[in-house]
């Protein structure tokens, strides 16, 4: 098993006033080195919580880890405190959804990058303490250049509010790459951007990741974006893994009823998009068994009683369903 990120049977809940919110229910997920995995799901599916669990930013007092583990390069990210701390920001970095909120508005970009490099970038042996400001600045400029920002030196002197959304996101990507990580977690990085800017950023992210052999865990609710840059796609629903498949297979041959209905609800010219009746259940009152069963047209008794296990086929296509679609002929979307 050579996965870089290995999540198995992860169950996690938050303590709230009204009881325990079971946000993640036995999640299985793995990311191989150099792979770009898309984590797709709608609001309330738990993808952001999962990202935060890996990054260790879950609210400590309220989080209850019921089972399972998250292993990044062998290190337990949920419980292995000191070791996990060492990996965060170095081996695994983060590109957030709203870059503006992630920058400190009072400091220049250059200062913030410098701080990052002081603590997180690998030492290159130059200057005192194995690090010199000049070398750092040169690396920063080189990286800003790699993310296609014009006039990188000028950017270092600017404040976050002086940059546009697309520019800020590029800086975020640069900052995520500077520590030379092995994995980047990108949480809906292009949701807030215009379509043309999104195309640029997605292309950039993919190109850089492939060039440098960096794995990416890319969460999104935009299936088009997932098609563009992911190698494999994981679908989550209400805290459970529903389906995992390589990109082309996923879109050509979805087998989980939720995935099918999801693809069918994409707007398409000349066809009335079909929504999924009902709503996503609250993690406080999650249905038993397969959490999708109340809305599933193929549900039967067993779906309510027992949770289907995630079974992986020989073709790498994994599915957690008692009644999956099998016939390839009924492909929903090509």
């Amino acid at each position: 098993m050579n996965s870089l990120l290995d999540i198995q049977a992860l169950s996690l809940g938050f303590r709230t006033e009204k009881g325990i919110a079971k946000v993640l229910d036995r999640i299985d997920l793995s990311v191989r080195p150099g792979e770009i995995v898309g984590l797709v799901g709608e609001s309330g599916c738990g993808k952001s919580t999962l990202a935060r669990a890996i990054l260790g930013t879950l609210p400590e007092g309220q989080t209850e880890i019921n089972s399972g583990h998250i292993r990044l390069d062998g290190v337990d990210m949920l419980r292995g405190n000191k070791e996990a701390e060492h990996l965060r920001g170095r081996v695994v970095t983060f590109v957030p959804q709203d870059p503006f909120a992630s920058f400190n508005p009072l400091f220049r970009i250059g200062t913030q990058i410098q701080d990052l490099m002081r603590f997180k970038a690998p030492r290159d042996g130059s200057g005192r303490f194995g690090r010199s400001r000049k070398a750092d600045e040169a690396s920063a400029i080189a990286m800003l250049d790699a993310v296609q920002l014009p006039q990188p030196k000028a950017i270092l002197n600017k404040y976050p509010h002086q940059l546009s959304g697309g520019q800020r996101q590029r800086v975020m990507i640069a900052m995520a790459l500077l520590p030379q990580p092995r994995m980047i977690i990108a949480d809906e990085p292009t949701t807030a951007l215009d379509v043309t800017v999104q195309a640029q950023i997605l292309g950039l992210l993919r190109r850089l990741a492939v060039e440098r052999g960096v794995s990416v865990l890319f969460t999104t609710h935009d299936l088009g974006a997932a098609w563009e840059i992911c190698d494999r796609i994981v679908v989550m629903y209400a805290g459970q893994t529903a389906e995992i498949a390589p990109r082309e297979q996923f879109f050509a041959d979805p087998r989980h009823p939720y995935t099918r209905m999801l693809l069918e609800s994409l707007p398409s010219p000349g066809r009335d998009p079909v929504g999924i009746p009902g709503g996503v259940p609250s993690p406080l009152k999650a249905p038993d068994g397969c959490r999708f069963h109340p809305r599933c047209p193929r549900a039967t008794e067993i779906c309510h009683e027992s949770r289907p296990a995630l079974m992986t086929g020989a073709d790498g296509h994994a599915i957690a369903c008692h009644h999956p679609w099998l016939a390839k002929a009924e492909a929903a979307h090509v």
Binding site: D194, A199, G224, W227, E228, P269, I276
Partner: protein
């Protein structure tokens, strides 16, 4: 412009909306030209989409048509009657005929009012109907949007987001408008919810005989629901025509870039070869001549001098000096 027999329900004529940019001591140092020379007509019963990226002016257009902003130049006519022009106040009865739906219609509900109260309000303001008549109308509309009548006694926070949206729409419909302007109605919605919402819009349109102006940045949604589409860039219309045609053979370089940026599931990766660089310039500092020329891969010297007007051919309008040469 408007086709032959059907008189346009709305005519927009050279509409401009500028915002003053204030500098030191509150003096006006420049002008943010959010809209310039916008002219088009809306046919009764159609769904006209308005697409564009941030800063293109589509939201400002919606708000100016609605009467939230006053035009700096030009005028808007509804069924021949002038309803907006510089200095003109929006008449109350026009407000009833031309309604505006925010991105989240549920947010238009006062959190301290019961749903019933919120739904009666438009009628209280615009009519002198007695309570029973208002209640009857409210019940009728509530049923039409698919909500149980019992919900009328509840408060917004006691119903789901989707239901709040329906109530927000009901509030619009209670006055019996003819034209409804939607501003980013599906933005931020999950895809499965979006599908349900679009279907709701379609149903309401046919039940109440409405015309829609549909402002969105989501090309896929616009392509699936709109009959005609307007593409805007930096305050101007760059292309206008039947949706199918504009999407199949876009004439303006910006439209071409926009369409090529949208991922196509099942097709080749668009991001690998995407060529449009940079971002739209600041609307307070628009380039001379054609506003798109700074990013246009086909820009020629005369593009900097002449600001192209909309040129129509087969009801498909485009504002580009050289679009004919660019036709592949």
């Amino acid at each position: 412009m408007s086709e032959g027999s059907n008189p346009a329900i709305l005519e927009v004529d050279n509409l401009a909306r500028h915002f003053p940019v204030r500098g030191f001591l509150n003096r006006q140092v420049g002008s943010l030209r959010a809209l310039d020379n916008v002219s088009f007509a809306v046919e009764p019963g159609e769904i006209l989409g308005i697409v564009g990226e941030s800063g293109c002016g589509k939201s400002t257009l919606g708000k100016t048509l609605m009467g939230i902003h006053e035009p700096s130049e030009g005028e808007v006519r509804m069924m021949g009657e002038r309803i907006a022009s510089p200095g003109q106040k929006r008449a109350a009865r026009i407000r009833a005929r031309l309604q505006y739906v925010y991105q989240d219609p549920g947010a238009s509900l006062d959190p301290r009012w019961t749903l019933r109260r919120s739904l009666h309000e438009p009628l209280i303001i615009h009519t002198d109907w007695p309570r029973e008549k208002r209640e009857e109308k409210v019940r009728e509309i509530v049923k039409a949007v698919g909500l149980p009548v019992e919900h009328l006694d509840l408060y917004p926070h006691e119903i789901s987001g989707g239901q709040q949206r329906r109530v927000g729409l009901a509030r619009i419909l209670v006055l019996g408008p003819e034209l409804v302007i939607f501003d980013e109605p599906t933005s931020g919605l999950d895809v499965s919810v979006q599908a349900t919402v679009l279907r709701l819009f379609r149903d309401l349109k046919s039940e109440f005989d409405l015309t829609y102006l549909f402002i969105s940045h989501d090309l896929a949604v616009v392509q699936s629901i709109c009959d005609r589409v307007i593409v805007m860039y930096l305050g101007r219309i760059v292309e206008i025509g039947r949706t199918a045609e504009v999407f199949a053979s876009p004439r303006h370089p910006y439209t071409q870039a926009l369409l090529s940026a949208a991922p196509r599931i099942g097709g080749p990766r668009v991001t690998e070869n995407f060529s449009l660089q940079g971002e739209p310039p600041d609307p307070s500092n628009v380039p001379s001549g054609c506003r798109f020329r700074t990013r246009c891969p086909h820009a020629l010297p005369d593009c900097a001098e002449v600001d192209p007007k909309l040129e129509y051919e087969d009801s498909h309008g485009v504002a580009c000096l050289h679009w004919r040469e660019l036709k592949a």
